[in-house]
């Protein structure tokens, strides 16, 4: 493998990986605060992609499309949290897993009834002519995705370390009851964690649409996002980002090194191995227990 090829692959890997990183981030944030793993997060991404399609067809300029998707995504999260998650947040884990899964199926089937299964697509904001730099081809959409991922990750990290609400979220994730006794409104924290998570998910849908198209199966991304979250240790924000990027890199390199027919197996085999031998991930701090 030449250096140029290796670098080219690294770029490809990082660009898909940054989408996985966003999905992983969207999975980890509500899990950290409320202990609910949203198995329907993939469908939030799909929803974001379809919103992008609708808004683009209305001939709105890209910045407005982007802002509307983030806001609508966040509102969607607030609605889901209030109507579906809060009534069962204390239910056994089985109920939560199946319920979030079911929410995803409802979104996916509704989209498939409404829009059919045929693929649609939108253009990236900067066209698709590759940029040549240092003898490497860089897809402008990929560069844009990476930029957004870096901005979002920085914003999330700053949010959790600097703002009052972010600190309240961390307090709730450490000890819900103690946080409540300290005057933190736990319900507000849950609501915001869902809003942030679904806003990021919907944004991921907008970003990924030019690369992989828009169809009801976009939500399959969640499997890679989950793997990213597992690698990152489920409760670590930087871990989720690094985890997502590594999944992209692993997938891209394994495609070249061991052939395309088995490349899809690699992430899942890795998932099984990690879950068995290191369920706390590579960045996590011990197993997360919901008591």
């Amino acid at each position: 493998m030449t250096t140029t090829l290796a670098l080219q692959l690294a770029i490809a890997g990082i660009s898909v990986g940054s989408i996985y990183a966003l999905v992983a981030l969207a999975i980890v944030i509500p899990f950290k605060s409320s202990g609910v793993l949203n198995f329907g997060q993939g469908e939030i991404v799909t929803l974001g992609a379809y919103l992008a399609l609708i808004l683009t067809q209305l001939a709105l300029p890209y910045p407005i499309v982007l802002i509307s998707i983030v806001i609508l995504g966040g509102l969607g999260g607030v609605v889901i949290e209030r109507l579906l998650i809060r009534p069962i947040v204390k239910a056994p884990e089985f109920t939560l897993v199946i319920a979030t899964f079911a929410i995803g199926v409802v979104i996916k089937s509704s989209l498939s009834v409404q829009f059919g299964d045929s693929p649609n697509s939108i253009d990236g904001p900067f066209g698709s002519t590759p940029i040549m730099a240092f003898g490497l081809n860089i897809n402008p959409t990929s560069a844009w995705i990476l930029t957004c991922t870096l901005l979002v990750s920085t914003a999330v990290v700053l949010f959790f370390s600097r703002t009052r609400l972010g600190r309240a979220m961390r307090a709730v994730s450490v000890n819900t009851e103690a946080a409540r006794l300290m005057g933190i409104r736990v319900e507000t924290v849950y609501r915001w964690s869902w809003a942030i998570s679904t806003a990021i998910g919907a944004l991921a849908g907008l970003l990924v649409a030019p690369l992989i198209g828009i169809n009801p199966e976009v939500g399959q991304l969640i499997l890679r996002g989950l793997l990213g979250a597992v690698i990152g240790g489920f409760t670590s924000i930087p871990g989720a980002i690094i985890g997502g990027l590594s999944v992209g890199l692993i997938e891209t390199y394994s495609g070249v090194l061991i052939g395309s027919s088995f490349k899809n197996l690699v992430p899942f085999l890795l998932l099984m191995v990690l879950l068995v031998f290191r369920p706390q991930g590579l960045f996590g701090t011990g197993e997360f227990k919901r008591v």
Binding site: L37, F94, V106, S109, S112, V113, L223, L265, V276, P279
Partner: protein, 319 residues
């Protein structure tokens, strides 16, 4: 005890079905065969999830293993179906034990993730080994023959019916045995069970293997009843459908599996006019039961039974 009585009621109605089915046309017989297959799969999943308390998002994969291995044994090695189906079920059991070994150490969402990963692995293997399995285009299952003659639709239905009866009988006995009590103990309090000398991890593994055995049997039967299998039949939505069976029927009871699978197997027919909304309605039913009736339809039987008891003897009802 009442549980057992409900099971015998169900068992008798299954036998009654067999007798009436001969008078029905080919299509209802086909549908009832599918219902029987769903019941067998649900019984397996319920042992794992309802009794031992382990989430599984890959029950449909064990059905796939049973279906594909029995079909391939028939197609490639000319094994008769009555040998291939039990072998397929046995293979599913082995794989179930293999998955159960690591999975029995995982809890909650980690187990959900591992089983979801396993489902994906099975799907990818079926799709990528297309020259053996037919890949995404599916596999035509050789017609079941016995003594050189094709087995008719009605006989295949009787076979499913006998298998369903066997599944109900074996699971009921299993649950009233030592293993059954250990399964429930492991769900209710793993620590207490451990302290009382129940080998928790081994019981969890046993639950995986047992549930895979039922799923493998259901898969093998499905292959000969439908005559065609493809990986789409055994994906995440199939796994979720099986979970819906046990949630709607009632977790942890054989009667729950039977009622849930039987009621919901009729659904696609009732919903034929609104076919495209099938998945949504199915999932909303699942969500509704999870939220408002988490113990399932069998609770209706319980309240019915209590009312009967009240009516017959007020004295007994008070105690």
């Amino acid at each position: 005890m009442f549980e057992t009585r409900l099971n015998s009621v169900l068992f008798l109605s299954v036998v009654a079905l067999a007798l009436t089915a001969s008078a029905l046309g080919s299509y209802p017989v086909y549908l009832m065969s599918l219902a029987g297959i769903n019941i067998i799969a649900a019984i397996g999943l319920n042992l794992l999830t309802g009794n031992s308390g382990q989430i599984s998002l890959c029950h449909s994969s064990f059905m796939a293993i049973g279906a594909y291995s029995s079909s391939l044994l028939t197609a490639r090695y000319g094994l008769p179906f009555w040998l291939a189906i039990p072998l397929g079920s046995f293979l599913a059991t082995l794989v179930g034990a293999l998955l159960g070994a690591p999975a029995s150490r995982l809890r909650g969402i980690y187990l959900a993730l591992a089983t979801l990963g396993f489902l994906q692995i099975v799907q990818i293997v079926i799709e990528e080994f297309a020259d053996v399995t037919g890949g995404v285009r599916g596999l035509n299952v050789p017609k079941a023959t016995f003594a050189g003659m094709y087995v008719s639709e009605y006989v295949r239905f009787l076979l499913v019916l006998a298998s369903t009866g066997f599944a109900i009988w074996s699971a009921t006995n299993l649950l009233s045995s030592r293993v059954g009590r250990e399964l429930n103990a492991v769900r209710l309090s793993p620590h207490a069970a451990q302290a009382l000398g129940v080998p928790v991890d081994r019981i969890r593994l046993t639950a995986f293997a047992l549930s895979a055995a039922y799923a493998g049997l259901a898969g093998g039967l499905m292959a000969i009843v439908v005559g065609f299998i493809d990986p789409g039949e055994f994906g995440v939505s199939a796994a979720l459908r099986q979970i819906t069976f046990i949630v709607v029927g009632g977790m942890g009871t054989v009667a729950g599996s039977v009622i849930g699978a039987a009621v919901l197997s009729a659904m696609p027919e009732l919903l034929r006019p609104v076919k495209e909304y099938n998945d949504i309605i199915y999932t909303l039913i699942l969500l509704g039961f999870l939220t408002f009736m988490p113990r399932g339809l069998v609770t209706l039987w319980d309240s019915f039974r209590i009312q009967i008891a009240r009516a017959t003897s007020t004295k007994e009802a008070r105690t």
